[in-house]
Amino acid sequence: MQELLTPQMNKTVSQLLLKEVVRLSKQFQHKFNRLPAFMEVCGSHTMALARTGVKKALQNDIRLISGPGCPVCVTDQSIIDAMISLTDGENRIICTFGDMMRVPGSGGTLMQAKTEGNDIRIVYSPVDAVRVAEQHPEKEVIFLGIGFETTIPILAAAIKEAEEKRILNFSMWMSTKLVEPILRYLLDYDDLALDGFLLPGHVSMVMGRKHFEFLAEEYRLPAVISGFEAVDLLSSLRQLLLLALAERPLVMNNYQNVVTEDGNTHAKHWMNHYFSLCDEAWRGIGSIPNSGMDIRKEYEQWDAKKKFSVLAKRPRKTKCRCGEIIRGLIEPPECALFAKACTPLHPVGPCMVSSEGSCAAYFQYMREE
């Protein structure tokens, strides 16, 4: 279906939209005497803005601030350390998404643990980890479940599969995060001058447009739900500018072919069926009440936190400023480690290693030298 838009037309449309966005930005600057500042709240947007060249094309016209949208990056170091130390036990298979493999823990990465002989597997889907458990009844299979609202229902699907097949050697160590509480935190406590949000298309596909109305109603900010291609991003930025110029706080859906008003009711049903709200620790912020979801008591036989204990050590201190980066307080080059002590090959913090981290995006797509 994406083929409906030919490459030539794609190019023409995106270049036209770019001109339009620049023109609107000039109007904004004229009216308010500063650059418009928008935050993207999705790691995939951060990557897409950099990869497609949109961010660079607009570097003198819009301040695009990367928000807390990369699930690995927002996870507190103590949780990352706990997850990595799960590999220490006997007779275990650890399954994870690829992004977790090279995240630096205080005592090494999952990749290093694998090199040392631990059985650590990358799976495409959490349900695949349930199959691994089915094939290895003699082993304990633990899935490291991180993610936002898009991924949480999929974690629920894995528990459902394990429940239906009575697979008891499968469990999940969850550390999931919700978008609404962190946006409220940033708006309530951080000194961010924002003119609007570019909202995550995939989280919205689960949660629905209405879920984000609090931004307009309580914080008087416009927000636009966006897709991931250059044309989607540019047309969403255009809408954001139009709203900001008119000083109209509205939450608009610019990804209508995928996102509905109420989201995916089935997905919401299953995530609430297996999981309930919990407090979660965010990197560089600390615990935020009800900002994540964890396995309900009724299903604790699949809760790795109940089955296994890990030694909690105080995380090693580094000069990494991921905590400020995920809050949009600084840009990656403002960190002293960026591109010097911290590179994708030798990452100090998760923002450099995750394929959706702001530092990785900046390192890969924005650096000139």
Partner: protein, 330 residues
């Protein structure tokens, strides 16, 4: 089923039988086996030597197998260096228990690929290790070629960058063949010895500055290396790079970047702008070069940077592959 045993590697009767009945029979060079080393006569020119080890998993995949790859890979390294491949040697490390029928299929396709391009397999060695000490079979090949007219890497601003066909086919084929990520595709690996196509190109133009085969690390990594080696600034146009639909689809599903996926049958040519069409026509006349395209330009002969121009008109810098290619999921 007949299987490899430790005795196949001990230099005794079974080892002799394996060499005679399998390797000599397929490689047809019993004249060479009278001595411990192959003796080759050298014509004029410079000698080119290269070596490579092959550990691909799975051993058999759509479009090839480890044997074809071991011949093609080494031949291609010679050919892109401007050499005419003459002979290769091969060393086999076999795991005890490896099915002999599989070994036969592998050896047969090595012989076929070598014959197709007129290269002799002149020496070999077999070792067998205990079960569990290797993953079926590993092959090392060393290639020897003659360079009559060495390439002169004297680059000029405006030189064209050509790729001989679509990128990423091998990488995605292998991912699908491993079955680990549940991906299914009709793609086949581009694995092929390219010396005939390359010799067509070098005949057509005397202004080819350099050739490289973008294998592991993909097109981007190979070009970054060229840029650094010769202090060039190359600008690629993102929408000119040929990518098969299936590769694009698989990359979308798994979150890979096709510019970093492995190829085993592609060549990058950097050629004077005026000879661009000659080279395109020469390689386009062969099946393996039918999708060849001009994908970029040498912008400057300093700095050593690879840039990509997006359809939006901005440029961004490309770097070599860092770490492993992992599916981007969450």
């Amino acid at each position: 089923m007949e299987r490899i045993t430790l005795a196949h590697g001990d230099g005794g009767e079974l080892a002799h039988q394996l060499v005679q009945q399998l390797f000599v029979a397929h490689f047809h060079h019993d004249a060479f086996v009278k001595f411990d080393a192959a003796l080759l006569s050298i014509e004029k020119g410079k000698l080119a030597i290269t070596t490579d080890s092959f550990v691909v998993k799975p051993l058999f995949f759509p479009g090839g197998n480890i044997g074809k790859l071991a011949v093609a890979g080494t031949v291609n390294d010679l050919a892109v260096s401007g050499a005419i491949p003459k002979a290769i040697t091969c060393g086999f490390i076999l795991e005890e228990g490896f099915p002999i029928s599989d070994l036969k299929r592998i050896v047969r396709s090595m012989a076929e690929e070598a014959q197709k391009i007129g290269v002799a397999i002149v020496a070999g060695d077999t070792k067998v290790v205990e079960r569990g000490a290797a993953d079926g079979i590993y092959i090392n090949t060393t290639g020897i070629g003659i360079v009559e007219e060495p390439l002169v890497p004297s680059f000029q601003e405006g030189d064209s960058v050509i790729i001989s066909g679509s990128v990423g086919d091998h990488g995605i084929t292998i991912f699908a063949a491993r079955g680990e990520l549940g991906l299914m595709t009709n793609l086949t690996s581009d694995c092929a010895a390219l010396s005939p196509m390359i010799s067509q190109a070098t005949k057509a133009s005397k202004q080819i500055r350099i050739m490289r085969d973008p294998t592991r690390g993909g097109l981007a990594t190979a070009l970054v290396e060229i840029c650094e080696d010769f202090q060039l600034t190359i600008e690629l146009s993102e929408d000119a790079i040929p990518i098969k639909r299936e590769v694009e689809g698989a990359c979308d599903l798994l979150g890979f970047d096709p510019l970093y996926l492995a190829n085993e049958g592609k060549v990058i040519f950097i050629v004077a702008k005026e000879d661009e069409q000659k080279v395109l026509q020469a390689i386009g006349s062969r099946e393996e070069g039918k999708e060849a395209a001009v994908i970029g330009t040498v912008r400057a002969t300093e700095k050593g940077q690879l840039l990509l121009r997006t359809p939006l008109g901005t440029t961004r810098r490309l770097y070599r592959l860092t770490g492993l290619l992992l599916p981007r999921i969450c």
